[in-house]
């Protein structure tokens, strides 16, 4: 029977855990604080950029340039009453909203925000991120079902179709990178781009990944699951108060981490001229990708359901497979050494 630890031991252990690098990483920089703050900032950025695209001004009064608007929104939503329809499954809805947020944050564990600045440097980081992304459709479908509302249910079904069919081209489009580098570790994939970023040899893969990413994020032009002219707010229709805030923030968190993934895979991650430190480059590129996605929202109309599924299954899938063959040719031509780790 081992002796019970004394109070001093417990305190010193707690101090050691709190000051350890992993704990700080989880709580502050690549972890929770970074992700939630960036997601909140993205809601502001989205309003501001969309306003500019439409020749409006956007949020203005809360703080300088209205930058405190997300905080005002958050406080408002937190104090709002949570209203669930009478026949809705309130417990299931709360559970799903919570797990949506958790799933949206999960990929941050494997994404390297700087050299060695990653919570868990996994050998299979890429598969981990995709595994986390593949859990979204079931949760969204459950929200749609649990709301007991036709809008939510149709939104959930649409989301399921869309995410399941765009997941396949997404997985296939990164295979070229995996073949060139011979690793699934995201840090090593970034390091392999020392000479040339993957956006150059994998331009087709990048295009497929970006398009499939937009579809996974349910953003315009692929925002059918929450088409507001048809489905009110899609699967989020019956969420309110904190549950709505969680669902809404989860979608922006997903946007942020998807952009971070694109940065790490195709845009050289933290690599850049040494005038700025690596993490700053990473954040700059990530927010640039986010801004492009937001401008796309301002510029394009929504596509039709049948065209969306057709494009996914016939065009993107073929392009992704063609990209794999082109990569094989690149390797056979002896150009593979440029990106070997």
């Amino acid at each position: 029977m081992p002796a019970l630890p004394t109070l001093q031991e417990i305190v010193s252990l707690a101090v050691r855990i709190i000051t350890s690098r992993t704990f700080l990483e989880i709580v502050f920089f690549p972890g929770l604080l970074n992700v939630t703050l960036s997601a909140a900032l993205l809601t502001w950025l989205e309003r501001k950029v969309i306003a500019r695209v439409q020749l409006r001004i956007g949020p203005l009064y809360a703080g300088i340039w209205g930058i405190l608007q997300p905080i005002a929104d958050g406080v408002k939503l937190m104090f709002k009453e949570m209203i669930f329809p009478e026949l809705a499954d309130a417990k299931l809805l709360m559970l799903c909203a919570l797990s949506l947020m958790l799933l949206a944050i999960a990929p941050v564990v494997a994404i390297p925000f700087g050299e060695g600045l990653v919570i868990a440097d996994m050998d299979i980081g890429l598969i981990y991120v995709f595994a986390a992304l593949s859990l979204f459709p079931s949760v969204i479908l459950l929200i749609g079902w649990g709301s007991n509302s036709k809008y939510s249910f149709l939104g959930g079904l649409r989301s399921l179709f869309q995410q399941v069919s765009y997941e396949i081209p997404m997985w296939l489009s990164v295979l070229g990178i995996v073949m060139l580098t011979g690793t699934l570790n995201l840090s090593e994939i970034v390091k392999a781009q020392q000479n040339v970023w993957f956006v150059v040899p994998q331009a087709v893969g990048f295009a497929v990944f970006f398009t499939a990413g937009l579809a996974e994020l349910e953003r315009i032009p692929f925002d059918l699951p929450e088409a507001e002219t048809e489905l009110v707010m899609g699967w989020m229709t019956e969420l309110s108060g904190i549950a709505f805030m969680l669902g809404f923030l989860a979608m922006y968190t997903k946007l942020y981490l998807m952009s971070a993934l694109i940065t790490a895979l195709f845009l050289g991650g933290w690599l850049g001229p040494s005038i700025l430190p690596g993490p700053v480059w990473f954040l700059l590129k990530t927010f640039l990708v986010c801004t492009v996605m937001i401008v796309i929202r301002g510029a394009f109309p929504r596509v039709r359901v049948d065209l969306l599924l057709k494009a996914g299954w016939t065009r993107l899938l073929l392009l992704a497979i063609a990209n794999i063959f082109v990569t094989v040719v690149l390797i056979l031509l002896g150009l593979g050494w440029v990106w070997r780790v």
Binding site: L87, L92, M122, D123, I124, I127, Y128, F130, A131, S134, L135, P137, S138, L141, L142, W145, N148, F153, L157, L160, V164, G182, T183, L184
Partner: protein, 174 residues
């Protein structure tokens, strides 16, 4: 520490499996199954097979559970109606008896055949690269056969879908 994790995961797996079987609402059963499968992925991580764990999550929880949910939602019965449990027939009882015997036999064989040692065995991690190399060299035949199987499945699915559509244009299957 692994013991604590093992016990917690076992409680999660068995608890949610029982919940899945006992749930009155079919949807809850699917949710319970999802949690149970996530727990199994956790066991794979404890065994040092992260690769298998990730595919367990993305294939079983991400795809199979979605399929189950989807089927339940398409074949919708009125919510709130409780399924009447039928008394199992003679065949059912015999089936349960045989299944129990087989499970007991497997468990007994595992306990008898695998030597039990008080110390945990040395955990050796297999590199993903090594798995890939052995898949492409010594297990290449199995890989090709799996590919053929999946291809045949896809073609079969497409054929079924096509027959359905042809009927519909004739107006026979309305």
């Amino acid at each position: 520490m692994p013991d604590v994790a093992f016990v917690a995961l076992s409680v999660l797996i068995i608890g949610s499996a029982i919940f899945a079987l006992e749930a009155k609402e079919l949807i809850y059963g699917a949710v319970g199954l999802a949690f149970s499968l996530i727990g199994v992925a956790g066991l794979f991580i404890l065994l040092g097979a992260e690769y298998v764990a990730m595919f367990q999550v993305s294939v079983y929880v991400g795809a199979v559970v979605v399929l189950i949910l989807f089927t339940i939602m398409l074949v919708r019965r009125e919510s709130g109606r409780i399924v009447e449990e039928e008394e199992p027939g003679r065949l059912g009882r015999m089936g349960a008896f045989v299944a129990g015997l087989v499970a007991l036999a497997v468990a007994g064989a595992m306990i008898l055949l695998v030597p039990v040692s008080p110390e945990a065995p040395e955990l050796h991690r297999v590199l993903l690269r090594d798995i890939g190399v052995s898949l492409a060299s010594s297990y290449s035949v199995a890989l090709v056969i799996l590919g053929l199987l999946i291809g045949a499945t896809v073609i079969g699915g497409l054929t079924l879908a096509k027959i359905d559509r042809e009927k519909r244009t004739d107006g026979t299957a309305q």
